[in-house]
């Protein structure tokens, strides 16, 4: 920097593109409109190398950016217009906040003089997004662009990542500035990596060394902090079995010997039951969502809990802890591993097998290999996982398709499972899959989606068509809002209120967009269809007519403890 003789003034709109370039952005997801037109005009003429993906609805832009961010581990960028453009991204902002996803959202805004006057397409974007994003800022002068963008990226991707919103007024877009960019690396009021306390680490090591039946539950924090190798080392050295939250999936390869499966409402029997039997519970980068804990008052009561998280406000929020360690998972895990002693807990680790066996016989085999009757959801997921060799990035929408996608996918690589966990946003799937594919063009991206969720963002077929994005969409069609139907059957006396869907001919929609499609309803065609889908890199929609009254099992019903598990609608798990 330093010598600024050859600095030349550029418009605020161009300064935005230059700032994004300086942050290493190569793709943005967006949709133009009146109050962001100078930015789009500048995109047209300023010669930026950044790729702009034109979505069909702003919700699509933000979910695509989320999918992109989760696969890449870098912020996804969204550009939309003011008013309705901005309000259309709100769902995604909350979703990104709950699921700790780094996104930078840039919204157009009316001219400074019109602010607060109910001008055309004016919405109070900073007011609306204040409580639901990590940070927001209204840029009113071109001079502030570089500062605000660099801060936005720093905040979005550091610490516990999250969405950041920059509200970009017309004056700032049209103003001029002598552009100079400096990356933000420090904010006084924001401790992005809290320093773990040595004392806490020592106390944790002591507990872990003494433990007879230690158990680890881990979440997306492991992925965010790139701590997969450290987690593996830690588990191996301590001989500690581990379960993943929904968003923790794929941080450990599915065939890792100490990996015991998914925890939570529809998680695996063994890790859920063992949560309430272990003597030391080590939680890494997760936040004890109520879908993970079941009834909090009976959760892991017998265990001493060690909670490692980068967000100090999560520690002790839901589950009282013996030791809380605030810090980055990678750093904390490697510190603990180096200090603890090598252990063996053979009997304890082996004890998981009995529960696994019960689940295999009662739930898994009937779901993935029913042999007769209608095709089952789990069977489809299992087939996709088998044919893809567990190498695909699995994206899900929300509902039964999501739980089945999570339960029956196997993972060989990290950052391979993308789903809306904390908010459970139907419609997340298609755009998130688009973003994931754009982030990892060399990998297969398979989406599992229901007939309900598909229709919430089906317009993004247009984006797939225009961009030629080779996503593989597996529509698990049961002609119901299946997840809600399941609850109605189990807990609402089979009163199926407003869950039956009269559906369109999905193949005609696919054809209208020129996307290859195939419909399967017979078991004998399934594997061939999946192989066809995965045989190349072009977009494909595979619609499978699945068992309409299928249920996701096992299930910890709402209000029950994590070890009170239904295996079928009639049978409860009995501990062995």
């Amino acid at each position: 920097m330093g010598t600024d003789n050859n600095k030349k003034a550029i418009t605020g709109s161009e300064a935005l593109w230059r700032s994004l370039e300086a942050e290493g952005v190569n793709t943005v997801f967006g949709y133009p409109g009146g109050q962001i037109m100078p930015v789009y005009d500048s995109f047209y003429s300023c010669g930026t190398p950044i790729r702009h993906v034109l979505v069909r609805h702003e919700q699509g832009a933000i979910h695509a950016a989320q999918g992109y961010a989760r696969v890449k581990g870098e912020p996804g960028v969204v550009i939309v217009t003011s008013g309705p453009g901005a309000t259309n991204v709100i769902t995604g902002v909350v979703d990104a906040m709950t699921d700790s996803t780094p996104v930078v959202v840039i919204t157009g805004q009316v001219a400074n003089a019109a602010l607060g006057t109910d001008a055309f397409q004016e919405a109070d974007v900073t007011g609306l997004t204040g409580p639901i994003c990590k940070w927001n800022y209204q840029i009113r002068r071109a001079e502030d662009i570089a500062w605000a963008v660099s801060r936005a990226f720093f905040i979005a991707k550091t610490g516990r990542p999250g969405p950041v919103v920059l509200d970009f007024t017309k004056d700032a877009q049209n103003g001029t500035v002598e552009f100079e960019y400096k990356k933000c690396t420090f904010i006084r009021s924001y401790v992005h990596i809290p320093k773990p306390s040595d004392q806490a680490i020592e106390k944790a090591v002591e507990l872990i060394d003494k433990a007879q039946k230690p158990f680890v539950v881990f979440g997306q924090g492991v992925t965010i902090s790139n701590a997969e190798p450290e987690l593996m080392e830690f588990l191996k050295k301590g001989d500690i079995p581990a379960g993943a939250t929904l968003l923790g999936l794929s941080a450990l390869p599915s065939d890792f010997p100490l990996y015991m499966g998914m925890i939570g409402m529809h998680g695996n029997v063994a890790p859920n039951v063992k949560t309430n039997e272990c003597d030391v519970l080590i939680a890494v980068g997760m936040r004890f969502d109520d879908r993970v804990t079941g009834t909090v008052s009976t959760y892991a009561k017998q265990a001493k809990v060690i909670h490692i998280d980068i967000d100090p406000s999560e520690i002790g929020k839901i589950i009282p802890v013996e030791v809380g360690i605030k810090g980055d998972a990678k750093q904390v895990l490697s510190a603990i591993t180096s200090k603890m002693k090598e252990s063996k807990h053979t009997e304890w680790v082996d004890s998981f097998a009995a529960c696994q066996e019960v689940e295999q016989v009662k739930v898994i085999t009937p779901e993935v290999a029913p042999g007769e009757g209608h095709i089952k959801m789990g069977e489809v997921v299992d087939c996709v996982s088998r044919v893809s060799g567990g190498k695909a990035i699995v994206v899900t929408d929300v509902g039964q398709n999501q739980m089945m996608g999570a339960r029956y996918s196997r993972f060989a690589q990290k950052r391979s499972f993308i789903s809306s966990g904390g908010l459970g946003t139907m419609g997340f799937g298609i755009p998130a899959a688009i973003g994931a594919k754009i982030a990892a063009p060399d990998r297969q991206v398979c989406l599992f989606v229901g007939d309900g969720g598909l229709q919430m963002t089906v317009q993004e077929y247009g984006t797939i068509m225009q961009e030629g994005t080779g996503v593989k969409i597996v529509l698990l069609n049961n002609n119901w809002l299946g997840n809600v139907r399941q609850w109605q059957e189990l807990f609402f006396g089979e009163r199926y209120s407003q869950t039956r869907m009269v559906n369109p001919d999905f193949s005609l929609i696919a054809k209208a967009y020129g996307i290859k499609t195939r419909f399967v309803e017979n078991r004998k065609d399934l594997e061939d269809a999946v192989s066809e889908m995965l045989s190349d890199d072009s977009p494909f929609i595979l619609e499978v007519h699945v068992e309409e009254n299928g249920m996701v099992m096992p299930m910890v019903p709402p209000g029950k403890g994590i070890n009170q598990i239904m295996l079928t609608d009639k049978e409860w798990f009995e501990n062995v």
């Binding site: 900073t126 409580p131 940070w135 990356k183 904010i187 009021s189 401790v191 100090p312 406000s313």
Partner: protein, 189 residues
Amino acid sequence: MENEVRTYTVTIYTENQIGLLAQISNIFTRRSLSIWSLSAGASSMEGIHNITIVTDATEKKIKEVVQQIEKRVDVVKAFFYTAEKIVYRELALYKILTEDLLKCDDIEGLLNRYHARIVEMNKTFTVIQKTGHTTETAALYDELKEYGVRQFVRSGRIAVSRAMQEPVFKFLQKREREAEKYRKQTNKQ
């Protein structure tokens, strides 16, 4: 103990960012906590603002709320105190018609008893000022009622901790040293 509801004074130090006050009060609303009083203004440290909020909560909840507040990027630090840990006051102003007030035989005695004073007196009205705790400003109000209080306003609580230093000061010093380290790192790159 953890579940006993008590009155807490929450002191928040912030960078001056627009919209932050709304976000902070919103955290109280989300956790179903009523804000009994709120006051905001500059602190003794340049660029740092101080917000003081009084609320009733359990210790567990107030701890969580304070952590949620600190999580906001532009919040420097937040603390919570029970009454014994701080010195706190509010300011109250009472407006009375001067001719009504003059009906009182011993204005001076009354004001002295309450450590109150007259800040403005003209032909039409008189303004009395009192600082103190809520109960004290309320007690004076009750006595003045007799003479017809035309306007009565009370400020939010302000408080200083019983620690010798502004409690955020150490944190800022530490951050200053860390900033230096980061600056060196980025210069090297």
